[in-house]
Every structure is written in C-alpha cells, then in structure tokens.
C-alpha cells in the first residue's frame, strides 16, 4: 500500500518535472528566434534614441525639475501647465519641465523638509524651481534662510513687470503667481449694496439678525479668517504675522466684539449656530437661509461657474480686509538650471497661464486682467491683489480656536 503511494508520488513528480523541462526547452528555442529579432529591435531603438538625443542636443533643451505640493486640483492644473509649457510655450524648444508633485497631507511637510535637506547637503540639480504657499515659504525661510534662494532678477522675466503683488516674506526672492483670499460672499438679490467696511457689516448684521454666519474656526479657513481678523483688527497690523505669545493677552477686546455680534448670527431651532466647514455656510447662503458669509474667493467662484450655487451669489471685500494668501515660485541656489527656472517662472505669470489657472481653479490672476476673458469671474476684478492681507500666527491659532470654542461657540 505504502509502496504504491510512494511510487505514485514519484511518478507524478517525474511527470511534472518532465513537463516543466519540456516547456522550458521549448521556451528556450522560441526565445532563440525571438532574441535575434529583439536584438535588431534593440539596435533600432538605440539608434532612434540617439537620433532624438541628437536632435534634442541640437535644439538644446534642458530639463528643469519643478517641485510642487497641494491638493489634487493643484496637481491637475500643474500637469496641464507643464504640458503646455513643454509643447506650446515660447520656451518649449529650450527647456522641458519635469513635475515632481506631492499630494498635500502627510507629504506636504516632506516637500519643504526635503528642500531644506537638499540645500543643507548642497545637493545640486534636484530642486530647480519650487512652488510654495505663503506658510511654506515662511517655513523654508526660517529653515534655510532667504540667502539660500536666488535673488530674482526681473530682467530675466519680461512678464514680471505686470505683476504688482509682492510676497510679504522674502520679497526679492519669491515670485507670486496666483492668489486666493477670504471674501464676503453674499446673495445680491437680498443684499443689493453689500457693506464695504467692518462697521457697515456690523450695522447690516444688526438690521438683519440671523442672516449672517461664519463657520466655526478650526473647521475651515473662511471662519478662521473672519474670527481672527475680527480679533486682530483691534491690534497693530504687525501682530497678524507674529506667533509671539505676548499677543494672546491682547485678544480680549476682539473676543468681546465676537461675543457682541454673536446674537446676530444664523439661528436654527431657536439657537445660534456656527456650522462646521466652509462649505456648510456656503450651502446655507445658497439655500437662502442666510444672506452673507465669509468664504474663499476661489471656492465661491468655481462653484458658481460650475452651477453648483446660484448666479446671484457675488463676492466683495470689506475693509479692513479678510485674509488671503499668495502662492509663489522660488529658485533655490542649488538649482543647476537657473535660466530654465526663470523661463518657467516667466511662463507662469504670462496671460496664457494665468487664464488657465483662472478657468481651472478660479485662482486670482496677479496680472492685468483687461486682456483676459473674465466671463464668469468678473467679481475678481474688484479685489485688490496687490494688497492681500496675510496672516500667519503659527501655534497661536491652536490657542485661538480653543478660546473661541469655550467663549463664543458655547454661548448657545
């Protein structure tokens, strides 16, 4: 019995091996013919590669390595811009941009950290040009100093003359190319003449209780900006960009102002409510439950353009204004293609690129928009991009949110 089993096993394994060998040998023979064909193919490709390399050398294109980070819509627009730069722009024959994109989230810190590490290690040629938000720019400057960036020579970027907006930090080292800001979104049907100043806004709130809402700070940038500027309007302008803990003691006046206007906010079921997230206040506005709310300009305009919200919703800025941010490009000194980087910078502030960003993400153009097709985005022309109010209070924002939750959010 046992013998039978063993012999059966042996037989099976022998057959399997034979089959494998058979297959293997036939495969080898097949390959023999295939290999010959392949080698000629390979020769052809090398020739072709060489040909293209030769032609590339003749045309003199060199690679520019671009680093950027952000959410997925930012990735999409960057891919589109890079593609356009590489094929259609006046620089296409000289430079080819290679995009290295990191989706925001856990990787976002890594991009600036990676840049800082490369600069410290003096690693040439990886970071030719880098896209940075206002916050990231200040982080980079504090990590490696603005002296590790190339001081920009505007004569190398003809289009820079049209851009009036200046970065608040590292002004001579960063080229802003798009911006966004928190604005007041309002339903023009209900509010024919929107307030122009904070005082007028408060007057309006008192006259129309329950028709204004801002989202709870910490749940979205619009509410953050509204609550923070409300408090910081009582402080000197320099406080807005300081993370010094001494300013915390001076918040009282602003918080009592927020407590004062609390009673005029949106109500549901008989109590005051601050919805969570920017989108929630925009939904309330769209549904006609409120007439005005702070929100991001790009968010409102792109949703209006896509038909997600009513056409009657318009945007306006009040004085002192709500805060925004500028997105900038910088060239690290470790770049080994500075001219290529300048070329891409120049492209990004060209009318063509600016219009692409406007249409795709409602990014506020920083160039003269009179020659652009602004259909659907006319409101942007009323915003003064040269005077974006920037805010970065660092870790104080955590304390700020906690205090807001316990003092304002809990009034009920």
């Amino acid at each position: 019995m046992k013998l039978k089993k063993i012999s059966a096993c042996l037989l099976v394994s022998a057959m399997t091996i034979a089959q494998l060998v058979g297959c293997g040998s036939s495969a080898t023979t097949d390959n023999a013919g295939g290999d010959a064909a392949k080698s000629t193919e390979a020769a052809e490709t090398t020739a072709a590669d060489k040909g293209s390399a030769d032609s590339a050398a003749a045309e003199g294109t060199s690679t520019v390595s671009l680093y950027a980070t952000g959410s997925d819509n930012v990735r999409a627009i960057f891919e589109e811009l890079v593609e356009d730069f590489n094929t259609n722009s006046e620089y296409a024959s000289k430079y080819q941009v290679k995009l290295n994109f990191q989706l925001s989230g856990t990787g976002a810190a890594a991009m600036t950290d990676g840049l800082a590490a490369a600069v410290k290690a003096d690693q040439q040629g990886d970071y030719d040009i880098v896209d940075l938000s206002g916050d990231d720019l200040s982080k980079v400057v504090s990590q490696i100093g603005e002296e590790s960036l190339v001081k920009l020579d505007t004569s190398k970027m003809p289009n820079a003359a049209h851009v009036t907006a200046k970065s608040a930090i590292a002004t001579d080292y960063a080229q802003p190319y798009r911006g966004t800001t928190v604005i007041l979104a309002y339903d023009s049907k209900a509010v024919p003449t929107p307030p122009k100043t904070v005082d007028e806004l408060v007057e309006w709130m008192k006259a129309n209780p329950g028709r204004f809402a801002y989202n709870a700070p910490g749940t979205g940038g619009a509410g953050d900006s509204f609550a923070r500027t409300s408090v910081y309007n009582f402080l000197p302008e320099e406080a807005l960009t300081s993370s010094d803990a001494s300013w915390v003691d001076k918040w009282d006046e602003g918080f009592s102002y927020l407590a004062d206007i609390h009673q005029y906010m949106y109500q549901s079921g008989g109590s005051i409510v601050y919805p969570a997230k920017n989108q929630a206040t925009l939904d309330l506005l769209n549904q006609g439950e409120i007439d005005m709310c702070p929100n991001w300009a790009d968010m409102v305009l792109s949703q209006r353009a896509s038909g997600a919200i009513k056409d009657t919703i318009k945007i306006t800025q009040i004085q002192p204004s709500l805060t925004g941010s500028l997105q900038s490009l910088v060239i690290p000194k470790i770049s080994d293609n500075v001219d290529g980087a300048y070329a891409f910078m120049d492209y990004m502030i060209s009318d063509r690129a600016q219009e692409m960003m406007l249409k795709d993400m409602a990014a506020i153009p920083l160039v003269d928009t009179s020659k652009m097709d602004m259909t659907g985005y006319e409101d942007l022309q009323t915003l003064d991009v040269a005077n974006f109010r920037l805010m970065s209070i660092g870790d104080l924002s955590t304390q700020f949110n906690e205090r807001w939750d316990s003092e304002i959010g809990s009034i009920g």
Partner: protein, 281 residues
C-alpha cells in the same frame, strides 16, 4: 513529536497572525492610550489632571451628559420602533410585509456620508419638507439641524434596520407551534405576548441595544455635519482635543472615558450571554 503537540502547534500557527494583528492594532494602542492619559503633557509625569479636566470643566461635563442623552434616546426609540417592526415582519404574512421585509435593510447599504447629506437636504430649515410646506402656504421650520433632535433622527435611520435585523432573527427562532399551543389552551393574544414572545426575545432586544449604544457613543460623521457648537458629542470633542487643540494626553484620557462608557454596555452584553449559558446548562 506527539500528535497532540503537533495539532497544538498547527492550531497556534493558525491563530498567530490574527493574534498578532489584534495585539498590534487593538491591544497596543489601548495600552499606550491608557498610559498617555495619565501623563502630564509637558513633563510626562503621572497626573490625574487629564481626567479631572473632563469631569470639572463645565463644557466637557455638558458634552458627556449630552452624548449620553443622545445615545440613550437613540437606543430606546430605535429598540421600540425596531421591535414593533420585527413583530410585524414575524407575524404578519402579507405581500406588504414581505416587501418591507426585503426593503428595510436598504439603509445599511447607503454610505453614511450620503445618508447624512440626504437627511440634511430633507430636514434643514430650507429643505424638502420646508419646500412642500411652502407649496401648501406653510413655512415649516423644523429646527432639527444643529440640534440633538436632528442627530437622533439620523441615528434612528442608521440603527432601526440594524436593531430590527437582530430582533427579527430572535423572533424567528420562536416556533409557531408553541404559540399555537398556548392559543389552543385559551391564552389571550396579550398573554402570549407578555409571557412568551417578550421573554423569549428579550435577550435579543438587550443585545441589539448594547450594539446600538456602543456604535453611537463614538459617532463622528453625523454630529460633525449635523451637530451644533456646544454641547458637542464626545466624538467631536475628541476630534477637537486631538486635531484642533493638539492636546494628545487629554485626547487619550477622553478615549479612555469613552471606552469605559462603552464597556458598561459591553458588560451588559456579556452578562446577557452568560445568563443564557446558565439556562442551557
């Protein structure tokens, strides 16, 4: 190698991956959270402050009571409605009952986020109900949004099908024969219900209740989108501590508190199960 040892080794090898996963993803985080909850944020020294904060800070005490209120109301209403539904499905043999029997599980297959937004669209002050009201000349403002009542409505939407499923299974296990037997000897319908059906299905009701309770204590999506600013459900309070205030030790303490609240319900569950074992023995 003896045969039993071999079998044992194989058994251990089979269990080991699962054991490892549980240890790494359940046991380890729980232990480290408990340790962290007793540590001072800055010095790491032993302290009870993280817990004291949640039981002394007025807003936090309110949050805990508010959560218990929402959860207990959800459990009670869900059980009553689910029980009635289950009774109907078990004892009424009609086409409508059959259709309901297949449809009532549908909410379980709708992604939570979609369900919450659908509910918001319907019950908000400018929602579907309001619009129908306006057509009839009535400005109906339910005022459910950003209040406990709105969240409870949403929780019921999620939990009634689940509770009904469990209770229906329990009721299905009661044989028709004993009910017919009792009826034959002259028991009234009410008597059959109070002394047979209810006691026989009570265990399932309790178990359904414990599940509904536990799944709602830590709920996040519904209160985040439908809840107000204060008081908050504990899931949101925990999110605030962790993401907004970056108070990791307090977050750990709140996690432990929520764990303890849930373990009361887990205790009830285990007790109910053990009791049945006794009865079987």
């Amino acid at each position: 190698m003896s045969k039993t040892l071999k079998t044992n080794l194989v058994a251990y090898a089979l269990v080991f991956p699962a054991f490892l996963v549980v240890m790494l993803t359940v046991a380890y985080p729980i232990i480290s959270a408990v340790i962290q909850s007793f540590q001072d944020e800055n010095t790491g020294a032993f302290t009870l402050d993280n817990y004291l904060y949640f039981f002394t800070d007025k807003a936090q005490v309110k949050n805990i009571l508010y959560t218990l209120y929402v959860v207990v109301v959800t459990v009670l209403v869900a059980l009553v409605v689910a029980y009635l539904l289950a009774l109907y499905l078990r004892f009424v043999k009609s086409k409508i009952a059959k259709t309901i029997g297949t449809l009532y599980l549908l909410p379980r297959f709708v992604p939570a986020m979609c369900a919450v937004f659908a509910m918001i669209t319907i019950i908000r002050d400018s929602g579907v109900i309001n619009r129908f009201g306006l057509m009839a000349g009535q400005d109906v403002k339910l005022g459910l949004m950003y209040h406990a009542s709105g969240m409870i409505v949403m929780n019921l939407w999620f939990n009634i099908p689940f509770a009904a499923l469990m209770i229906t299974a329990g009721l299905g296990a009661i044989p028709d024969s004993i009910i017919e037997g009792a009826r034959d000897v002259g028991a009234s319908k009410l008597k059959v219900f109070t002394s047979m059906i209810l006691p026989l299905s009570f265990k399932d009701v309790i178990i359904a209740g414990t599940f509904v309770f536990m799944s709602n204590v830590g709920s996040f999506t519904t209160p985040y989108l439908m809840g107000g600013n204060a008081p908050k459900m504990l899931g949101i309070a925990l999110f605030d501590q962790f993401n907004k205030y970056l108070a990791y030790n307090r977050s750990a303490a709140l996690s432990v508190i929520m764990f303890l609240i849930c373990s009361v319900s887990a205790g009830v569950y285990i007790y109910t199960n053990l009791k049945e074992k006794e009865w079987e023995a």
